[in-house]
Structure formats: C-alpha cells, structure tokens
Symmetry: C2
DNA sequence: CGTAATATTGAGCCTCTTCAAGCGCCGTGG
DNA sequence: CCACGGCGCTTGAAGAGGCTCAATATTACG
C-alpha cells in the first residue's frame, strides 16, 4: 500500500495504464499517448459513479478498489449485476449504444479510477486493433458468464445457486491448498450476495445456517466462510 | 427471391456475405476474399448444429431460417437462450475462449448457414478492424439484453415476464399501426417461449388464459396473439 | 462509543411447480 | 384423401419453495 514515487501524489500513469488488460499489448510510446488522455481520480467509499438515465461519455477503468454495478427494476427491486475489481472497466455499453445507462454504479470501497473519454477511446480502437480485440475478448467472457447465470436463475433453486457461488469463489481465491477445508471471503455484504443470486437476504441467511447444521460449511466473522464438505455442495 | 446467376445453385456468395452485419462495411474485393473461404450449407428442420462438449472451430452465419441456442442443466432442465435469424451468427464464444461449447444449437426450420473457419476469422479480425468493431458492437448489445434478462428473472414474476415478452415482440413486429389492436406471432412454440422465460409450459398456458379472460389479449390459431390492451400489460 | 445499517429467526402466505389426465392439432403413412 | 399416432397444449389438484412482514440481535462505520 505504501508508495514512494518520483512525483508524489501522481503515480506513473503509463505503468498503471499498461496493467489494464485491454491495453496490455501496447508498447511504451502508445501507452504514454493513452496515459496523456486519461484522468485518474480518487473516489471514496459508497460514491455513486453514475446512475440510470445519466449518460457519462467515459470509459472507466478501475485501478484499485471495487465497484458494484446494479439495476433497480420498476418494482423497486435492486439487482446486483456484477462486481468489478482491479483492471476491469465499465461504461463500455453506453459507448457502443450511445444511449444513457440503464443501471447504477457505486464504489464499494475507496477506489482509484481512470476515465477515458469516449471520443479518445474510439480513436484508440481504430488505431490499435489489439485493443479492440482485447475488449472483444472481455465482452465475450462476460457474455458467457451472464448467459450461464440466466440458465441458473431459470432452472436451479436457491441452494444450488448459493453452493455454486461459494464454489466459484473458492476457485478464484485458491490460495494454499494445503488445508483440506477451503475458506473463502465474501467480496460483498450478504445482502448484496443475496441480490446477486436473485434471493432475499432472509433466504440466504436461512440456507447458510442450514448448510452449517448439515456440516458442510462454517460461518466465521468478517464475511468468511469455511467450506468443509466440497462434494456435498457440488452435487446440489 | 428469384435469382438468375451465371452459376446456378451457387448463389452470389459475396453478396450474401456483404449482407451480414459484421461484414457490411467491407468493399467488394474484401468481400470476395471472404466469400472464397466461406462454405454455404443447407440444413433441414430440427437439425442439430452442435452440442455441449463438442468444439466445432467455425463461426456460423445464418443466411436464412432460424436457429435456437439452448442449454441443458445438470438437472435436465432445458433453457432456451436465444433465437437467431438472418444475419446473426453463433460460435463466437468458442472462438474467443477456445473451449468446447457448453450449449446446444439446432435449426428451427430449414436454414442456409455459412461457416467460416476460426483460423480464417482470426485472419480477418486482424486485417479488417471494422469487422472486429462490428463484432464488438454485436456482443455488447447481446450482453445488454442478457443482463436485462437476468434482472427480470431475478426480480419479476411470471406475468411480468410474459407481458414484457409480448410487448417486445410487438415492438419488433411493428407492421402497420393502423389497427388499434396489435397482433404478434410467436416465433417459436409455446413450450419454447416458456423455456425462454424460465417458466413451465403449464404456467405460461394458465397466464395466457388469464390474460384472455381479463380482456387483455386474444389467442388465435397458429401462434398468433392479438394484444387488445397494451397499457394493462405494460403496468404489470 | 453510539448509532444506523446489516443479519438472523419466526410465522403465514402466495406463487409457481409437479404430477396426472384429456384434448387438439399436425404431419405421416397407408 | 383419410386414419392414425405423436407431440404440443390445456386444465385440474396438491405440494413445496421462496417471499413478505415483523421483531430481535449483531455488526460495522463514522
């Protein structure tokens, strides 16, 4: 977390930009070019980046911290779409469609976020095909995940969704596999997990205690879940 | 529909390719190039193009007819993902990820489908940035739709989903707006509509009769639905 | 450290599913 | 062309799973 830079306060921007996956294949000159057009801003926790109806003409690239993207249906129901971390970007759909956003974006914790104006982005996409291709890759993966999510929402019950979510987390957070029991940390509040899974917080809570009394998991403080019986969760 | 070509049986392939959205911005020479690598095949009704687990290294572009993409969950539940028509393509996700498909694709009616090998596609994406960009646009739109679908599945009940689906169809099939009552034609069997909406055929059937006795719609033969009271459906 | 947001637990309800049976439509083969 | 068979569609009754509403307990942030 400590930083000792030549120009304090202003980090080496082209290095940051180079760490972003979609720009990862550019050379130093090109990175410097992009870095010149990018604005880095700090945001505090629970700050709304944009809301439905607004159209902000920027691609936002997360350098540190986390952002949640969610939607509020006409009936007032809040649905968490996804959580973004370092290297992820948002604002791409409004770039393509030109329409104002139909969703909300807020920081989950203090975050540093780069913004690149849509006009500049268009420029780079035309000049650097690898950027376009990288972006295509990213969207394709997101699409695959979202389509899978639709199937799960349509077909599977609450237990299956929760188990799948825990196992997915376990796969991402694979640390040292010495331990027989895996422990995962929920990246968001339980109520947000529930929203993400299309459930009410009550149902999620009940299923967790049910899993626990079945001996499959153990709830621990600070959003930590110890998974004891992986196979049991898998075959839900 | 009539065609008078120099080589009968083999339609003007570069013209067909040019009509595909992602290739629409290429010039004649480039189109001819692509046309030379593309294979046009006819498929009969209810033919499976590929299944889960298979990896066919081709981008498939629909020239005529319709294709359904669906998934079968571990519990045997069949979930219809989307229906493709003229100009749409599939096989893009396996192109990006390199992984075998996790879903099925079958023709709904007799269809003419072009196939382009992944190696060739990669070639064109590098040579013609506009193609990459067009593809990016397409995926972005699909992603937006799918994310909206997730919200609906998570938050809204059966009636809302069905009403939304009917109104969406009405928007697409907007013919002559002289009539006060709109009539839409379901593009697929009711059981497939149910699958698409994440419902059982029974529930769909019941809701339809319920809508009908409320005076909002009128069911007609041949998958035709006459929408009498649009506002009523909108405010579900 | 105090307060507000989050999490848990309980009871009742409501929607959708499941299982089962009957009907109707359409395409096939005689 | 008609008869048959199958699949899709409808309708009914029973059941389960998740939601709502409400009260309490706990956590986490300022």
């Amino acid at each position: 977390m400590e930083h000792h830079e030549s120009h304090p306060g202003h980090a080496p921007l082209e290095v940051l930009v180079g760490r972003v996956p979609i720009f990862s294949q550019l050379d130093d000159v090109e990175l410097k070019d992009i870095a010149g057009r990018v604005k880095l801003r700090h945001h505090r926790r629970n700050e709304q980046l944009y809301g439905a109806g607004e159209s902000n003409p920027h691609l936002m690239i997360i350098h540190s911290g986390h952002v949640k993207v969610y939607r509020i249906s006409e009936s007032g129901h809040e649905q968490l779409i996804r959580v973004l971390g370092e290297g992820d970007f948002l604002g791409d759909t409004s770039f393509i469609s030109g329409a104002p956003a139909d969703h909300f974006a807020s920081t989950l914790d203090a975050a540093d976020i780069c913004t690149l104006h849509h006009d500049d982005l268009r420029d780079y996409l035309l000049r650097f095909p690898t950027v376009t291709y990288k972006m295509l890759e990213t969207l394709s993966n997101r699409l695959e995940n979202t389509e899978r999510q639709v199937s799960i929402f349509a077909g599977e019950g609450a237990e299956h969704r929760i188990a799948g979510y825990l196992l997915e987390l376990a796969g991402e957070q694979r640390t040292s596999k010495e331990q027989d029991t895996t422990t995962v940390v929920l990246p968001i509040a339980k109520k947000d997990v529930a929203s993400f899974l299309g459930l009410t917080p009550e149902t999620l809570s009940r299923k967790f205690t049910q899993f626990e009394s079945a001996g499959w998991i153990r709830m621990q403080p600070r959003r930590t879940v110890e998974i004891i019986n992986v196979p049991a969760l898998q075959q839900l």
